[in-house]
C-alpha cells in the first residue's frame, strides 16, 4: 500500500469534505452576517445571536425540545437496555427471532408512517396532543436505536462475569447493577446520546404528534423558514451545530483517554510479569 498523496487522493478528499461541509460552513458564515439579506455579505456581526435569544418563540421551542429530548432519551435508554438484555440473555425463549426482528423494524420504518400511526393511536385513546405525546412518540422510535447499540455491546460481553457474580452470592438484580451495567455503561451512554440527538432533530414525528404549546425547535425553524430564511435562524442552527460538535468531541476524547489508559495498563502488566 502506498502512503503517498496522489492527485487523485487529494481530489477525493477535497471533494468529499466539500460535499459534506460546504452547506454547513455557509450557514455558519452567514449567521455572522450584518445584513438582513441572507445571501448578501455586509460585514461581521453577532447581532443575530442576540436577536435569536430575544425571540421568545425560538427560546420556548428550544426549551421544549431539550425537555422532550432529555426525558425521551432517558426513558428510551432504560427500555432499550431492558429489551437488549432480554433478547441477548434469555436465548431460548419462544419467538425470540421474531422479537429481535421487530426491534429492528422501526429503524427502517419511514418516519411518516411511525408519526401517523402514533397520531392515530393518541387520537383513538383520546389523548390530548402536546408535550407528553411528543415525548412518548420519541421514546417509541429512539428506543430501538438504544436496543441495537446495547445489544451489540452485550454480544461481546463475557457471560462468565455474571456467573462469577452469582457464584459469589450476588442475586441476579445485584449482579446486573454491580457487574453488567457498569461494564456496558459506555454503550448505554452512547445509546442515550443517540436517542437524545434523534429527538433533538426530529421534525416529521413531532409534526404529527405535537399540539399547541409543544412546538419543538425543528418545527419552529421549519415554520419560520417558510416565511423566508432570516439570519436569526442561521444563528440558532449554528448553536445547534456547536452543541452537537462539542458532544462528538467529548465522546471521542473520552474514548481516546480510555485507549491510553488501557495501553498504559497493559504496559504495566508486561513489566511486572
Amino acid at each position: 500500500m502506498t502512503r503517498q498523496w496522489t492527485s487523485f487522493n487529494i481530489a477525493s478528499v477535497v471533494l468529499g469534505f466539500a460535499f459534506l461541509y460546504i452547506p454547513i460552513l455557509l450557514l455558519i458564515i452567514y449567521s455572522f452576517n450584518a445584513s438582513k439579506l441572507v445571501t448578501v455579505w455586509a460585514g461581521f456581526s453577532t447581532k443575530w445571536y442576540a436577536a435569536a435569544f430575544a425571540n421568545l418563540g425560538l427560546v420556548d421551542a428550544a426549551w421544549v425540545t431539550f425537555k422532550v429530548a432529555i426525558v425521551s432519551a432517558s426513558v428510551a435508554t432504560v427500555l432499550g437496555t431492558m429489551a437488549a438484555m432480554a433478547l441477548m440473555r434469555y436465548t431460548r425463549f419462544r419467538g425470540r427471532f421474531l422479537f429481535s426482528g421487530m426491534i429492528y423494524a422501526p429503524l427502517v420504518m419511514p418516519e411518516v408512517i411511525t408519526g401517523l400511526s402514533l397520531l392515530l393511536l393518541f387520537v383513538a385513546v383520546g389523548m390530548e396532543r402536546g408535550i407528553t405525546t411528543v415525548t412518548l412518540a420519541h421514546i417509541t422510535f429512539s428506543m430501538c436505536f438504544v436496543a441495537v447499540v446495547v445489544q451489540s455491546r452485550l454480544a461481546s460481553f463475557d457471560r462468565s462475569l455474571e456467573e462469577a457474580a452469582l457464584d459469589l452470592g450476588a442475586t441476579p438484580a445485584r449482579t446486573f447493577f454491580s457487574i453488567t451495567l457498569p461494564i456496558i455503561m459506555p454503550a448505554v451512554i452512547a445509546g442515550w446520546m443517540l436517542a437524545f440527538t434523534l429527538s433533538l432533530d426530529d421534525l416529521v414525528i413531532a409534526q404529527f404528534n405535537s399540539g399547541p404549546g409543544a412546538t419543538t425547535l425543528p418545527m419552529k425553524i421549519f415554520s419560520q423558514v417558510r416565511l423566508g430564511v432570516t439570519p436569526e435562524i442561521n444563528a440558532v442552527c449554528t448553536i445547534l451545530v456547536a452543541i452537537v460538535t462539542l458532544g462528538v468531541i467529548i465522546a471521542s476524547l473520552s474514548m481516546k483517554y480510555n485507549d491510553v489508559q488501557r495501553a498504559r495498563a497493559e504496559q504495566l502488566a508486561m513489566q511486572t510479569k
Binding site: 463475557d158 462468565s160 462475569l161 456467573e163 462469577a164 457474580a165 452469582l166 457464584d167 459469589l168 452470592g169 450476588a170 442475586t171 441476579p172 445485584r174 454491580s178 457487574i179 457498569p182 461494564i183 488501557r262 495498563a265 497493559e266 504495566l268 502488566a269 508486561m270 511486572t272 510479569k273
Partner: protein, 391 residues
Amino acid sequence: MRPHDWRRLVSNPKQPAALNRSFHPWLEKDKQPFIEFQNVTKRYGAVTAVDDLSLKIYEREFFALLGPSGCGKTTLMRMLAGFEQVTQGDVFLAGENLADVPPYRRPVNMMFQSYALFPHMSVEKNIAFGLKQDGMAKSEINDRVADMLALVKMEDFGKRKPDQLSGGQKQRVALARSLAKQPKLLLLDEPLGALDRKLREETQFELVDLQEKLGITFMIVTHDQEEAMTVADRIAVMDHGRIIQVDPPMEMYERPNSRYVADFLGDINLIASKTVGHAKGKVLLQSDSGQDLQVNTSEEFAVGRNVWFASRPEKLNISRKKPAKALNALEGEVWDIAYLGGLTVYKVKLDSGEFVKAAVLNSAVSGADMITWEERVWVSCSPQGARVLIS
C-alpha cells in the same frame, strides 16, 4: 468451629502439608459422600450432555474430571455451581438436594477458565465482592482480603485493575477470590489452561499444597491428563456424558478398565488376541497373528474370547538379541525413533504388521551403540507389565 485458620496458614506458609497417605474415603464402607450425583441426565434438545450418571465424591477430596472436549465434564461441574439445571436425577451436596438452590445460595465457589475478574474493580474489590454480598463487616472484609492476597502472594497488587496484571497474576487473583468466602467446595474449570507450561506445572503443585492446607474439597475439570494425575486424589475419565472409570491416578494408569481409558491416560500398545486358557495366576493368550502371550492376573476370562493384550511403552524392553527367558517376545524392525532427552521412544513394526512403541530411559549418556533405524529387534514385556482389556 472455623474450618480453617487462615491467619495461621498465612503466617506459616512453609508448614509441611499434612499429606495423609492413607486418605481413601471412597474405600470406607458406609462413608457419607459429600457430593452425590444420582442417575443424573442432562439434555440440550436432542443432545445428551450427561447420560444417567452416578458419582460419589468425599469431603477433602481433590477430584478431577478428565475427558475430551464435549464429554460432559464441564456440564457436570456447572450443575454443582448451579448454572445448569438437571434434566433427570438428583444432585446432593452435604446431604442437601441442590435442585431448587440458586447459584447465589450454594456454599460452592468456582474459579472460571477465563478467570472472569470484574474489569471495573481493583484486585481488592474483586476479592471483597463475595464477602460484601454476605454483609460482612468492613473491617473483617479488609482483614480477609489481606489474608487472601497473602495466601496467593499478591500483597503488592491489591490496588491494580485486572487489565494491569499478567496471566499468572490474574490466575492467582481468581483463585483468591473463589477461596475468599471459604466455600465447602471449590470448582476449578480448566484453571491453568491459559498459563505457559512451566508456570502451569508450578501452579499445579501449589494447588495441591493449598488444598491440603485448607482442607476444602476441590473439583477440577481438565483435558490435560498430566494435570489431573498431578493434582488429583481420584480421577473420573468421561466420554459422551458417561463416566468410564473412577480411580486414583496410579490405579487408573496401571489398571485401566478399557482401551479408551488406557489410551486417554498415557500411551498404550494394544495387540488383538484371543484367550486360550488359564495357568496359576495367569491368563494365556494368542495374538491374532499366532503369537503366544501371557499376562499375570487373578481375573478369569472365558476361553476363546476376543481381548486385547495391553502394555505401556515404558514396560516394553527392546534388544537386538532375543531375551533369555523369552515371554511375550515379539520380533520386528525399528520403524521410527523419537529422542526426547530423558527418554527415547522406538516405534517398532512387528513382523505381524502391527506397530508397538517402546520407551527406553536414557540412563547413560547416549553412545554410538544405540539401536538405530531399520535394525531387527526383539520387543518383550514381562507378564506383570501387561494387562488384558476386554473393551
